[in-house]
Symmetry: C2
Subunit: 632 residues, 2 copies
């Protein structure tokens, strides 16, 4: 492909050639988006000179081996500038002009509207603004503390996205962890989607903010190739202690007078006639091929390896009272012999019990303080480098990071999230601390796994399983200590469930998990005393759910009581209904008990009773279903 192309090599390329390369990137951004009939050419044109200098002279990347561990990382936090990114891929010879012109934004193509890791050179999906930088912080953390490789992480940010608090969480953590390998380039083109940005071209105001958050700040004219080159060279020589923020003053639509620095051109491809005029004004099509810098090969495998350490999972005595959150801490610490396992927490590690890992493996534990967005983004960044991160906080506070979890799934991240203090079970702290939406939130994430153990044995087994589970995995843990139900070695396959008691005489099945499983067991005993045989199912795997066992229980007992310490929508109950619907739910009578009220403070027992999810309510619901007769 490169035969007829002028090759720009990093050691010989001139500033004039880089200017030409910038024009090529503009032309190709226009061509691809006009051809697709959608996209963001003007947002690409503002950053074209920045990218020309970066890939032409500074980025160390082996485009033939995107899995080389020593490669620099290039993240478009302003993911809508995908025409520019893909034009860069063409310029380095990674994609063909034909793919760019016929693939961009088309069905089935890997050149999606916003970058995702269906492309091998993309670390994380972007397009929800304010997420590329946080994920980049995760990769830079991995580079400095885990990989211990000299790669740099270059993140192109838009100026509009600096309004997202997540950007400041990211810079704060970058400075706290001395991420001198992080270089943040802000394309200050002054114009957002619907008009001017908050801070317009006031670079000094951005500078004061970034400096106050601990960054080294360089200001450049984003269209002066020499100025950019100098700044990148300076940024590439790491400051010992700080990330670098390069503020580049640019013009949106730069290079085409009909749109340059004008409002009303965000996210609009140029019509054919304008595109023609633009390409003429930009000096026509070019076909420069960049032969940039390559890193010193690391000799590392594609992913960090677990190492030879033996994992010895904790064991528990049946009947002993152990909180599942404690079992999480125990199991995570046990997994620490695996060198690819890392842990993070949001300043509550003494509540989630992540502190057990932190004490045993401080070099692989990262405190994110109270910044849940960055907590999840760091995990996504670690996953991009092949690590297996466990990120924990209260279940309620994972809701702070929902957009990051959603995007993590698009990023194809393999991460384990752990939410403690689930539900009204927590008692006196009140509703702000009660995770009552977490099952719904996590179930709705594409490809997710949602686990909810009822005892310590199950919790530990599921933690071990999560470490090798693809996608977004979620473990819901409980505050209080409840009896250990299962013997050491009991298997808990993801997608399974446990039938605790089962006879052919069962008239009803009680289905719960966590605290409600224990309430179901108590209810079954009460029903037993009344001569009613009740099957009890521990639904520790909420997604995927064991449809076969649930359907069998529905068929055999004809009645189901579904009980969850969660709001009624989207949780365990609806997971069961969905599973049954898929199997033809003929004639099953269902009672669904969940937290339909707004709870306040109180003891666990008071709150379970008030919400109608205690053993007494479960037994009563079962009796009502049976009193109603076996449905046809």
């Amino acid at each position: 492909m490169s035969d007829d192309r002028t090759v720009l090599s990093a050691d010989k390329v001139t500033h004039q050639q880089l200017r030409e390369l910038g024009q090529q990137l503009r032309v190709d951004s226009i061509r691809s988006s006009t051809s697709a009939g959608s996209g963001h050419p003007t947002s690409s044109m503002s950053a074209a000179d920045l990218l020309a200098v970066l890939v032409g002279r500074h980025l160390r990347y082996d485009w033939n081996d995107p899995h080389e561990a020593a490669n620099d990382h290039l993240i478009f936090s302003k993911g809508h500038a995908s025409p520019l990114l893909y034009s860069v891929y063409k310029a380095v010879g990674a994609v063909s002009d034909d793919e760019l012109m016929t693939g961009y934004r088309r069905f089935g193509s890997r050149l999606e509207g916003h970058p995702t890791p269906v492309l091998p050179w993309v670390d994380v999906a972007t397009g929800s603004l304010g997420q590329g930088l946080p994920a980049g912080v995760g990769i830079a953390l991995a580079g400095r503390y885990l990989d211990k490789l000299p790669y740099r992480v270059w993140v192109l940010c838009g100026d509009s996205e600096m309004a997202e608090g997540s950007m400041w969480e990211a810079l704060d953590k970058a400075a706290y962890y001395h991420l001198s390998n992080l270089i943040v380039i802000v394309d200050v083109n002054r114009l957002g989607q619907r008009g001017p940005t908050e801070l317009s071209w006031e670079l000094d105001r951005y500078a004061r903010r970034a400096e106050a958050f601990g960054a080294r700040v360089l200001e450049v004219d984003g269209h002066d190739v020499a100025d950019i080159d100098k700044a990148f060279a300076h940024a590439g020589e790491p400051d010992a202690n700080r990330p670098t923020v390069i503020l580049a003053k640019t013009e949106k639509g730069r290079g085409f007078s009909e749109v340059q620095d004008r409002e009303g051109w965000h996210g609009k491809p140029l019509p054919d006639d304008m595109a023609k005029r633009a390409i003429i004004e930009l000096g026509g099509e070019r076909n420069l091929l960049v032969s940039g810098l390559r890193p010193q090969p690391s000799g590392r495998p594609r992913r960090p390896e677990p190492g030879a350490g033996q994992v010895r999972m904790p064991t528990y005595t049946r009947g002993a009272k152990v909180a599942t959150r404690k079992a999480y801490g125990d199991a995570l610490k046990a997994l620490g012999t695996r060198l690819d396992v890392v842990a993070l927490d949001g300043e509550v590690s003494n509540s989630t019990f992540a502190d057990e890992f932190a004490q045993a493996y401080p070099e692989r534990f990262f405190e994110m303080f109270i910044a849940e967005q960055q907590l999840v983004a760091t995990a996504v960044g670690f996953s991009a480098r092949g690590y297996r991160p466990f990120a924990s906080t209260f279940a309620a506070f994972l809701s702070r990071a929902y957009d990051f979890i959603r995007m993590g799934a698009i990023s194809q991240a393999d991460i384990s999230l752990v939410g403690s203090h689930a539900g009204i079970e927590i008692g006196a702290d009140g509703p702000s601390q009660m995770g009552l939406e977490d099952l719904a939130m996590l179930r709705a994430v594409h490809g997710s796994t949602v686990l909810y153990p009822s005892d310590a044995t199950a919790a530990a087994a599921l933690v071990a399983a999560m470490a090798d589970q693809p996608g977004i995995s979620y473990l819901r843990t409980t505050r209080g200590a409840y009896p250990v139900l299962y013997p050491d070695g009991e298997p808990f396959p993801i997608g399974g469930c446990k039938v605790l008691s089962s006879t052919s005489a069962d008239q009803v099945t009680l289905i719960g998990a966590g605290v409600t499983l224990h309430e179901c067991m108590t209810a079954a005993e009460a029903l037993q005393r009344d001569g009613i045989a009740a099957r009890v199912i521990d639904l520790y795997s909420v997604k995927p759910v064991d449809a076969a066992t649930l359907t069998a229980a529905a068929r055999e007992t004809g009645r189901l009581v579904l009980v969850e310490d969660h709001h009624p929508e989207g949780g365990l109950g609806e997971a069961v209904l969905e599973a049954l619907a898929g199997q033809g739910l003929s004639g099953t009578a269902v009672a669904h008990l969940a937290v339909a009220n707004m709870p306040g403070s109180g003891t666990t027992a008071e709150l379970l009773d008030e919400a109608g999810i205690s053993a007494d309510h479960i037994a009563a619901a079962a009796r009502r279903l049976i009193g109603g007769g076996k449905p046809a």
Copy 2:
């Protein structure tokens, strides 16, 4: 109650008396939390002197009339310091010592573990850190631009929560909107839950950040009553253009030597013996009664009134193609004649069509730029002042604010959220921009209303209904333009649905909303050509859902095809299953079609087909159900 209490009046109170009041607040914080057996006394003790000076000398509040519109606002962003807040309520005579001692954190009491508006003096629920200040910005915005009253908003923040990006979104917007009526007090006590904070006592670093974000910063010794008094007086004289941030250096557990400035005492009540020693060291119990400042009564009603303007909703011609997002904009603008209706958007108002309102009523439109957390928090703050805010962005990006929505429900906020660009229907932009989890997320919120119109007539009617709906209401709008289905004046009650075609011969019911309703109609036509009568239901109200009509359809046709442009979990499909389960779903065969794949870019038609939710797939699913025979 105040008969035997020494009264401190604001005009005569001495600094020595304020010191005594501070000690009383500490003693009462210890007494209440020890009596409850849980709570955060040390986090209360650090801020006791700050609160003593504030309520003793500066806060303008009529404790007998919390609905007086001219009252200052006092928000504990560090909601875990509830012992201090409730001790303040005792000090001003609003709650009795008996209630404090027997109610705190007890079941059924209004003195919950973290403050909520079950108390008349609480504007917004706090306890999820980093939310009180953002909501306070909303109230201060209302004060300056809507109420036009001279009240001040005083927000007590913890130092740990300054790690949340939302705090910086809030300060940024406070400065942008010149909220000189906002006074942020940061209790810098150096210790978080599990150890030291990121910035410890480095007040200068906080100062640089707050100044860079546009605030006036004052630093004080948080235990020097004279110093605090001076700073509050200065802060209370508004700077013309800026919010004020008071950085108070304090000690956690201040006043009791056994815990003061020590780690390991976060969130722990003092045991009885320690509490006794603490109270002795603090000089014993006191019973001072604060008679503070009152505002000049405003003469305003409790809530802003809609005014006499006539609302003339837009009308649409049947068959014309109109996007529901456009109808949202039209309807919102029409509602603008109501003076209590305000609108906000996250820098995408030309996509959500909120810009129609912005152009017509610029004085009641607030641009939040790309800061979705602050977008929702501002709406919650406006609701606390009785306004009816509509906040819009892409459905996908509301996930950024899920914790704020969840807390909004605990705050008893009446707000309307509008998410545009729902689902894969948007086409080429790709998955980062596709709201595919929003129905699950919003359904799981306590007391929420979830609406999903299929045409412009329905959208406009539902917008009108939302303006008077209590709680969190959500409207899901669609990018593309589809035919208007309903005549002008058609009623769309919340909780209803529309049966588009129905005969006694119907063999199957097709249920959709938004784009899938249109696909269902096309499928029904195709089935009709095959001689199969299909009922079609427009499920515009996803929560509450019309269980009666759905159950009737299930009974009468025996087969349901549920189709949604959303991931399979927690959305329209599960809402229907839940409704049927509550009614005994005897013998209904169900096919649930949803977006189970990870979509990429493409045209709407390509993506609907790939996901299996297009008319062809719907008709095929119906045929499969019928081919399977009518279930028993």
